[in-house]
Structures are given as C-alpha cells and as structure tokens.
Amino acid sequence: MLRVVNISKNFGNQTNALKSVSLNVNSGEFFSLLGPSGCGKTTLLRIIAGFETASTGELYWNDQRVDVIRPQSRPFNMVFQRYALFPHLTVFENVAFGLRVKRVDTRSMKDRVENALNLVGLWSQRDRLPETLSGGQAQRIALARAIVNEPKILLLDEPLSALDQKMREYMQTELRELQQRLGITFIFVTHDQEEALALSDRIGVMNDGNLEQVATPEELYERPNTHFVAHFVGSMGSIRGSAVDHQSLQLPNGQVIRGNLGRVEPGLTAEAFIRPEKVRLSKIVVGATKLSGDGLRFDRGEGVNKVRGKVLNMAFKGLHYELHLGIGPDQRLRALVPPEKMKFGISIGESVTAQFSPTDTFIFNCPSGMA
C-alpha cells in the first residue's frame, strides 16, 4: 500500500500547488487522480515518482519511507505524457534500458524484453526507431519499457491524451486488461472524467491543490461530496439560487427547488445539480394547464421539482436527444430524451416543464468567488 501523508508543495512564489494531501492507494488497485489542468495531480504524481520533492509531508510504501530516497531507487516506474522514448535507441533497446542499468544478465534480459514487447503486441517492431512509430505504438512501447522492470506501482501521466479518440478508447481497454493481468498498482493521472470513470477502481478528484473526494466511480457519480465534484464529474445540468434551508434553494423567480442529496447553509448562494438522464420533460399545452403568475406552484412535501424552461438547443446523440433548457439568465438544464419520447414533437424555442425528483437532486453551496 502506498500512503501519501500530508504532502504539500510550494513552487517558488506560486504557493500551494498541493495543500496537505493525504491518500492511501491499495496494492493492485487502478487508482486515478482526476482534475482540471493545474489542479496539482501531475505534481503529486511527480512527487511520488521522485522528480519533485514535497515541501512538507511523507510518502510510505509498505511502511517504508520513500520520499527520502532517489527516484532511481524507488520501486515505481512512470509512463510519460509524451512517451519520452529515447530517440536514438531501437524499440528493443528502449525497453531493455532499465534492465541494462540494473545489470540483469543478457539471457533473462532478452527474455523479459521479449515478454514485455509481446504483452503490448509489438515484438515484431523491436528493431525500429521511435520516430517511425505511430502515437499508439509509441505509447505501448513506453508501457513496455516501464513494466519490464516489474515495478510495484506504475505511474501514468495522462498517457492517452496525445492519442486520437479511436486510439484512446482502444488503449483504455488495453490498459485496463493489462493492469488486471499484471496485478500491478496503477496510479493514473487524467483530466478526462469519462476515462477515469471507465478505468478506475477508485478515483481521487483534485481541485486547486486539494483532494476533494476519494471514491469508487459509482460513488463519485451517485454521491458527489462537494460542489466541485458535482460540477466536474458526469455532465450535470445546474441551476443556481440562494439556500432557504439545509435542503432547498430558491431560484431568482421565487421558485423553490428541493434536493435530498447534499446540504446547504441557508442564506448563501447554492446550486442544484441534476443528471440529464433524470430530467423528464412535458410540453406545456396552452390552455390545458393553467399557470399561475409566479411560475409553477411547488408542493413543499414529497412532490417532484418542476421548473419551466425554453428549449435552447437540441442535438441527436444516437441513443437519445440532448436538450438544453434555458431556465433563467445563464441558467441551463440538460436533459436526455430517448427518441421514442420525442414523438410528441419538441422543437427549439418551445416552452417545456422539466421535472426531477428531489432524490435525484444534489445541492451544494457555491464556493466563494463564484458569482
């Protein structure tokens, strides 16, 4: 198990790249560090690898302190964002580099390089130079070069970000399968929440040098702990208002939204998040439903949340239509509607009612600094 204990990092005058981060990564786990660029995830990875030294805090690998030893001696290997293959060495020599450094005898060195290259399916390319490889091939060589050393932990710094969409999806599957076959702990840094959700056993969401939440993909999706996590993970629509009590907020038009997930402090700005697949739409037929002047009446009991909005945008996504609803100025809800439900014909510019249950509604106070 890798234990990160109160690690923080200050770069020169830029303070708090990491703010006292603590974290445990279990052996054999596929762990992702997820966050926007500049959140400190790569810095944390580089501290674990040993390329940066932490300003404070400690790092333990199975109760052995590792932050004090040189990167060369740590039982971890890294896969770099832009591969960082040695351009003057052949594929074989790139993979053999670590073993030659460790003076592994020639016979077993050759066997291990062959195994590693077979594992990524590129043994046939062993005599080529890196510059002749495609991005996907180069990334697999970089993987082989790291795993041939049988590291206890493999550190991956956005390894798929330089690949095109198709290759990235293919490599995601490869990575996951490789990790399960080898049983090595993976620490995977990414800014792509879909990638993190698809690959990881657990995810640590980072923002502005803080670790916001550590959870399984399912937990993260269903129970975000903070405003940031709700905002960043999964693509949720949101509406903003001010909190009236711990479980509800009031929109500028006076309407009240209730959310059973999360908790807000009354009087402060708050935001309600709703997963687009949980939003149900109904068309407002003029004359059929009498609407009072202040919008829809909201029942403060168990009733569903209802807001009225205007369809701003509509896009066909195969499995469903994605609709953007304008609720008020700068307030947008997203809704996914299966094609068969679109039969009653919603078009852009039309007014609809969006309904969603309080049990599907997350509410959080907006962090200060957000209007």
């Binding site: 690898a49 390329f51 060369q72 770099f80 003057h88 580099f97 450094v101």
Partner: protein, 261 residues
C-alpha cells in the same frame, strides 16, 4: 490551374552576373595557380611543389592545424557542456548568461582582438601559440554553444526523467542518453570552430607572438613582397581544405550516431 509564375529571365541574368563577379577572383586565383609562362601558357603543378617544399609555409600550416584542433577541441568540450548546463539550469539568470555568451558574435572583431591583447598585456602573458589558442577558444566558444543549444532546445528533456525513472545515474544519463543525442551537433560545432580558427587573421594577428604565426599570417606577410603564383597555389589549397570541411559539416547534420551502451 495556373502554374506559379516563373522568375523573369533577366532576374536569372542578374543573379548569374553577380555570382560571376563575386567568384571571378577565386577562379582567377585557382587558374593562375596551375599555369606558368615559358613562351606560351602551360599547365603545371610547379607552384604547388614550391608550396609543399617551403619549410616555413609547412611550419605555419602545422601551427594553424595545432591551433585549430586545440582551440576547437577545448571550445567543443566547454561549449557543449555549458549548453547542457544552461538547458538544465533553473538559475534565474540563464537568459542573461545566454545573451552574454552570444555577445561575442556581435562585438566587432577588431575590438575583440584589441581587448584580448590588452588583457594579455595586463596579465603579463607572453604572446605565443598558447595565447592564439586561448583567443580562438574565446571566439569559437559561442558558436559551439549555439549549435549544441539549438539541438538541445529541440529535444524533449523529459527523456532524462525517463532514464532517471529507469534507474540510471546522472553520469549514465549523460553518457548514454544526452551525449549520444547531441553528438552530431557537437561534431558540427567542432567543425565550425575549426573552420573559424583556421582562416582567422585579425585576432591571430593581434595575439600571436614571434615565431607563432599561422598560415593566414604567413600568407599576408608573403603577399607584401608581391603576389606570386606560389601564393595562389597556397590559397587554392586552403580553399579546397575549407570547402571539404564545409561538406563534412553538411554531412554531420544528417548523420545519425547510434548510442551504444
């Protein structure tokens, strides 16, 4: 589709005219080095024979080669490693240091030569071949630095982190990763430095002592007593040597040197 308009004929005419005027003296020199007049003009190698048998000229040539090799070797070492150091340095004055080291490119050669001479005078250093070598190192250093620097800037330096991650010591990284990758640029820097040193006149003229004159100095001295076909022959030889070096330099750019462990 319309083809790209061609340059008009007269433009080529001007170009060839200018080139002809520029190279005419060189052509005249080369031609005069292989001709002799008895009752009519005949082809001969006698001037070259004279050059080869001129002990003083050969001595000057040897000194030129000595200065060239010594100064470019040292400036390649110093300049190459300075470039590596500059690239890796997190020192905040890296930019000013770089700018300062490129300054010798723009300082007028005469100013450079004079300041070197007065420096040697202040330090009471006897002018000799050593002072010539030192002077040549100072001006060729920045050329090597620039050449190697250019190559390093094009390299992704995370490969050093990758090597470190794979367990390589700093010395091993330098030996098996960094040096092999900048070897061709160091070779190019060496050849460039050699070239500059070999035909340098001004700075050598100011810093050489008695009996330490190089080939260009000798040529200049000999010229004062008249332009002879023998001098043309010598100049042609120097030209051939320089051109050969330049071809080598071009080859070096395209060269691939594979690092072996």
């Amino acid at each position: 589709m319309k083809a790209r308009p061609r340059a008009p004929f007269w433009a080529f005419g001007i170009l060839f005219g200018v080139l002809f005027v520029l190279y005419l003296p060189v052509i005249v020199m080369v031609v005069s080095s292989v001709l002799t007049r008895t009752d009519h003009w005949v082809l001969t190698l006698q001037w070259y024979r004279l050059v080869v048998h001129d002990r003083e000229l050969i001595d000057a040539l040897i000194r030129s080669l000595e200065v060239g090799f010594a100064s470019s070797f040292i400036s390649t070492l110093v300049g190459g490693f300075a470039a590596i150091a500059l690239v890796k340095s997190k020192f905040r004055f890296v930019k000013p240091v770089e700018a300062l080291s490129f300054l010798s490119l723009v300082v007028p050669e005469l100013v450079f030569a004079l300041s070197l001479l007065s420096w040697f005078f202040v330090l009471r250093v006897q002018l000799s071949l050593i002072t010539v070598i030192l002077a040549h190192i100072t001006f060729s250093l920045c050329f090597v630095l620039m050449t190697v620097n250019g190559r390093l800037a094009a390299l992704d330096m995370t490969i050093e982190d990758a090597a470190r991650d794979l367990g390589a010591t700093e010395w091993r990284i330098l030996r098996t990763v960094t040096l092999p990758l900048i070897m061709t640029s160091m070779l190019a820097g060496f050849l460039l430095a050699f070239l500059l040193s070999f035909d340098d006149f001004l700075i050598t003229f100011f810093t050489c002592g008695v009996g330490s004159d190089t080939l260009p100095i000798r040529l200049y001295a000999a010229m004062k007593s008249g332009l002879t076909p023998q001098l043309s022959a010598l100049a042609t030889l120097m030209l051939a040597f320089t051109v050969a070096l330049i071809f080598l330099l071009k080859r070096a750019r395209g060269l691939k040197i594979f690092g072996q462990m």
